[in-house]
């Protein structure tokens, strides 16, 4: 009976290494992510020329222009689509592979 076969598999998996992995919060000990993974933004303020293209394409209103003709990011709103990094002519915005964005301090999520 096939049902029994499934039961056998279920029993066997009791002795196998678990498929799920422990969530480790220490940096460097986390589950590896792929190269293309879109994580927390990084911003190179010196490279930015203030063209404001990124402000106009961002779908969730993360980016605002600042007085000195640069931009600032409110990362808590970011949906990690990567459109800003794609459109930036100077590659001033990049998406890192860091996926832990949560902090206890909201100001830590403002990127300038």
């Amino acid at each position: 009976m096939k049902f029994g076969k499934m039961l056998r598999d279920a029993l066997r998996s009791l002795f196998r290494k678990p498929v799920t992995v422990e969530y480790l919060t220490k940096p460097g000990r986390m589950v590896p992510v792929s190269e293309r993974f879109r994580g927390r933004l990084t911003y190179d303020r010196d490279a930015c020329i203030g063209c404001l293209l990124c402000v106009r394409v961002c779908p969730s209103g993360v980016i605002a222009s600042t007085e000195d003709m640069k931009v600032a990011f409110n990362i808590s709103r970011c949906i990690l689509c990567g459109q800003c990094a794609e459109i930036c002519p100077k590659e001033a915005i990049k998406l890192s592979t860091q996926f832990e964005i949560i902090t206890g301090n909201k100001n830590g999520l403002i990127l300038k």
Binding site: M6, R38, V57, Q83, I87
Partner: protein, 410 residues
């Protein structure tokens, strides 16, 4: 005549007739639904549906945004078929703007599309297994699915919201290593799905779901259900074959449309299992014949967006759950005048009524799951005893106990 009616009324008083609100909240959906199920004893006698809960107003939101912003917004309509939504939208834009994506871009779009179909169908098979109380199979199915999500992350950078489409092409290309990985995974998934199919054909599962939730061919045609729900009732429709889009025109000979005539939950499940094999065939054909060339136009998206004139278009794709329709009307300056989305679940929900009437209350979850509604259903039900005006809450777990008890009986 009057005497007959009196007899009927007597019966109704004798049995407590309950109305059970089933639903509605599930935030990941465009169409959360509330089913008011009236039961007499254990039997469902009537179903009433109410739509419109947690209406997120995405269509209106889109009208205040430019086209690029809308692209990422509509991807959030659904977490399972996000690629179907963007493809459908982008196709409409490309038609208005007269932009033809390269062959390679179309093939890559199709590739992600079929991978999405596999992961969506695997998800549903797991849900059905769970609803009939077969947790081992549920875990097994989702374990297979997990790997395809990792593959998505490798190709596009995100497991769920791939952000693959862009105006005139796709954003990420395949590297030779990825091609190998997809190929290896396809072999694995084929083996696993054969196994899952085998288990689903087992007598115990068959007994549980055969003859359950019957939607006859005539009803399916009359109610205009779409996708695997329709194909499980013998209606031979599939947008991929009937109105080919993306690269499906050239892949026509590499897949066939799966149609089952069982009309019940089992048939709909079987359609999905067999469709996974068809998707594997399509993916293999794509990897075999992937054309060379650029994946997107050289201009940046902003300029492309500006170039899209005022106009309107309708676009159709076959999402994992059925036919998905977009109506797009642009305003000529990079914005939208109107966006209308008709998702497959919207068409399929209406088919629930004939399916549910006459079934037992313990069967409601599995029947609702069998149309693969984009709703993870109820967290709890409120049972209102109309005779006494009492209401008590049945949570899903105790409903599942009933399900299991019933299964044990068989």
């Amino acid at each position: 005549m009057t005497a007959e009616r009196d007899v009927e009324r007597e019966v109704e008083v004798e049995y407590t007739r309950l109305r059970i609100p089933f639903g509605p909240i599930h935030p990941a959906l465009k169409e959360p639904v509330l089913l008011r199920v009236s039961v007499r004893g254990e039997e469902v006698v009537d179903v009433d549906m109410a739509l419109g809960h947690v209406h997120r107003g995405i269509e209106l939101l889109a009208e205040g945004r430019n086209l690029i912003q809308t692209l990422y917004l509509i991807e959030r309509i659904c977490g399972i078929c996000s690629h179907s939504h963007t493809t459908c939208f982008i196709q409409a834009l490309e038609e208005i703007g007269g932009i033809t994506p390269s062959k390679r871009a179309l093939y890559l779009r199709t590739l992600i599309f079929e991978m999405e179909r596999i992961h969506s169908h695997l998800l549903l098979l797991g849900v059905i297994a769970y609803e009939i109380g077969f947790d081992t199979l549920f875990m097994f199915t989702w374990h297979v699915r997990e790997k395809i999500l990792d593959l998505f992350e490798k190709i596009t950078g995100n497991r769920i919201h791939h952000a693959m489409n862009t105006i005139g092409g796709v954003r990420w290309d395949l590297t030779p290593r990825m091609v190998e990985e997809i190929d290896a995974y396809m072999r694995e998934v084929e083996k696993s799905v054969k196994y899952i199919h085998n288990v689903f054909m087992d007598g115990t599962v068959e007994k549980r779901v055969c003859g359950l939730g019957v939607l006859s061919y005539d009803d399916a045609v009359k109610l205009c259900v779409v996708g695997p729900t329709a194909r499980g009732s013998g209606v031979d429709i599939d947008v991929r074959r009937d109105h080919p889009y993306a690269a499906y025109d050239e892949l026509k000979r590499d897949f066939s449309v799966v149609v089952e005539r069982g009309c019940d939950v089992y048939a709909r499940t079987e359609v999905r299992i067999l469709e996974i094999f068809e998707s594997i065939n399509i993916i293999r054909a794509i990897l075999d014949r992937l054309p060379d060339g650029p994946i997107r136009p050289k201009e940046n998206v902003f300029r492309l967006m500006r170039g899209i004139p005022e106009g309107e278009a309708i676009s159709l794709v076959e999402a994992p759950r059925g036919e998905l329709l977009y109506f797009v009307k642009t305003d000529g300056s990079g914005g939208l005048k109107r966006l209308k989305v008709r998702t497959p679940t919207f068409s399929n929900l209406i088919g629930l009524k004939p399916m549910l009437i006459g079934c037992e209350i313990a069967d409601v979850p599995v029947i609702v799951a069998s149309i693969d509604p984009c709703l993870s259903c109820t967290n709890r039900l409120i049972v209102i005893d109309q005779e006494r005006g009492e209401s008590n809450v049945i949570d899903v777990d105790s409903l599942r106990h009933r399900v299991r008890r019933r299964w044990m009986r068989q």
